[in-house]
């Protein structure tokens, strides 16, 4: 059973994308926890650790991704957690490359088929043998 946390950091309230992904992953047989909107990186990281999730999804449409995502990665590292992180939202290509360099496993923009995200997550855990 793959357990996923879908989170929305920062001040943006555009949660349609996060809800669509949460629902699609549910229908793909995963257990999905949703944090709701306007979360701090601290809340998200503590929730991911307490819930012992296998993977963390971060949805951002506000443009603050270069502040919030590195902060989340830093806090995870600080707490000795190796939970993989994927990002979805309005992320310019250059920033996506930068985020991946920092350790984000994938960045999804608008129009990504949900099947692509599901396959990627399932594939990730098949390879990782969890």
């Amino acid at each position: 059973m793959i357990k996923v946390l879908i989170s929305k950091p920062g001040l943006d309230g555009h949660d349609r994308g996060a809800k669509v992904i949460a629902r699609a992953l549910r229908d793909a047989g995963m257990e999905v926890i949703y944090t709701g909107i306007r979360q701090t990186p601290e809340q998200i990281v503590q929730t991911a650790i307490d819930e012992d999730v296998d993977i963390l999804g971060v949805s951002i449409l506000s443009g603050a991704h270069m502040k919030l995502v590195p902060k989340i990665l830093e806090l995870l590292k600080e707490k000795g957690s190796k939970i993989p992180v994927f990002v979805g939202g309005i992320i310019p290509e250059d920033d996506a490359i930068e985020l991946k360099k920092l350790g984000v496993i994938e960045v999804y923009g608008p129009g990504t088929p949900t099947s692509e995200i599901i396959d990627k997550i399932k594939g990730y855990f098949e390879n990782a043998n969890i």
Binding site: R26, T35, T40, D50
Partner: protein
């Protein structure tokens, strides 16, 4: 990431949240290992409170309000949401209402999917509840799935059952029916801003009196926090009373039996899932089940 049983035990003894989070995952994946680990840890009797009621009545919000008003104690929250009977997946959304406590060191919230268990709880609920008692909790709140009239399982595990009602839940005949109305130790009429909640409280008190019982009915508003202090007071005075009059000890003794029952049911369910679902001969299924059950 693999982490050994002794690492978990050491971690939990020094209040490490990550180790405790791992133990809760083990409760879900391997009850035998979970029971083994729990038996090696110190346990403290927490007040285990079941919070139950129909979907949308305000269970998560009232828990959030309780957490906001109990900053001086350690509280665990077990939040159960339903699994899909089709995909097996689940959307666990109880936490959304409680996220302001996500970084509160005195609070530990964990979401569980019901994974096919009936009665509004999850298959690992007994192991999970025992586990919370090893993490130095003063109170453990179990939020059931949004339940119907006959989901009474929570009374087997909780020391105290709080039933939440809201003014839009039907007339007094609904309240006179058997089942969930009978397991409540405390009633909460939520959404007190709705004027109909006052007449619901009056009717409910009449029905309780008619049954010859003395069960508190508390009017509350889980969003504003009105009435929540009364609820906490009622919970605390009940905990004192049941510890003094022996009810607590009896309930805990029974809980061990219900735990065994749940453990064995889970074992049978696991075997049933391994039997081919197109088998139509019940006797054959029974034989195979017995064979697999005895071979373990």
């Amino acid at each position: 990431m693999q982490i050994s049983e002794s690492q978990i035990i050491n971690g939990i003894s020094s209040k490490d949240r990550k180790s405790f989070a791992k133990l809760l995952s083990i409760c879900e994946s391997d009850p035998v290992a979970a029971n083994r680990i729990i038996s090696r840890l110190q346990r403290k009797d927490a007040h285990v409170v079941g919070i139950t009621g129909s979907p949308g009545v305000g269970k998560s919000s009232i828990i959030n309000a309780i957490l906001s008003k109990s900053s001086n104690r350690r509280v665990g929250v077990i939040a159960v949401d339903p699994s899909s009977p089709f995909s097996g997946g689940a959307l666990l959304g109880d936490r959304i209402r409680m996220q302001s406590h996500a970084t509160d060191q005195n609070v530990f919230i964990r979401s569980f999917a019901s994974r096919g268990a009936l009665g509004g709880l999850s298959p690992s609920i007994f192991e999970v509840c025992d586990a919370f008692e090893t993490f130095d909790m003063d109170m453990v709140l179990i939020e059931t799935v949004g339940v119907g009239q006959s989901d009474t399982e929570v009374a087997n595990i909780a020391d105290t059952v709080v039933l939440l009602l809201s003014p839009d839940g039907g007339d007094e005949i609904q309240m006179m029916k058997a089942g969930i109305m009978e397991i409540a130790d405390i009633f909460v009429v939520n959404k007190s801003d709705n004027p109909a909640s006052i007449s619901l409280k009056t009717k409910l008190e009449g029905i309780i009196k008619f049954g010859g019982k003395d069960i508190p009915v508390i009017l509350a508003n889980s969003i504003t926090g009105d009435g929540v202090e009364d609820l906490i007071k009622a919970l605390d005075s009940r905990f004192e009373r049941i510890k003094a009059d022996g009810t607590f000890a009896t309930k805990r003794k029974k809980r061990v039996f219900f735990h065994a029952q749940s453990f064995l049911r889970r074992k049978i369910d696991t075997i049933m899932q391994s039997i081919h679902s197109e088998e139509t001969d019940i006797e054959k299924i029974e034989k195979e089940l017995m064979k697999k059950l005895c071979s373990k």
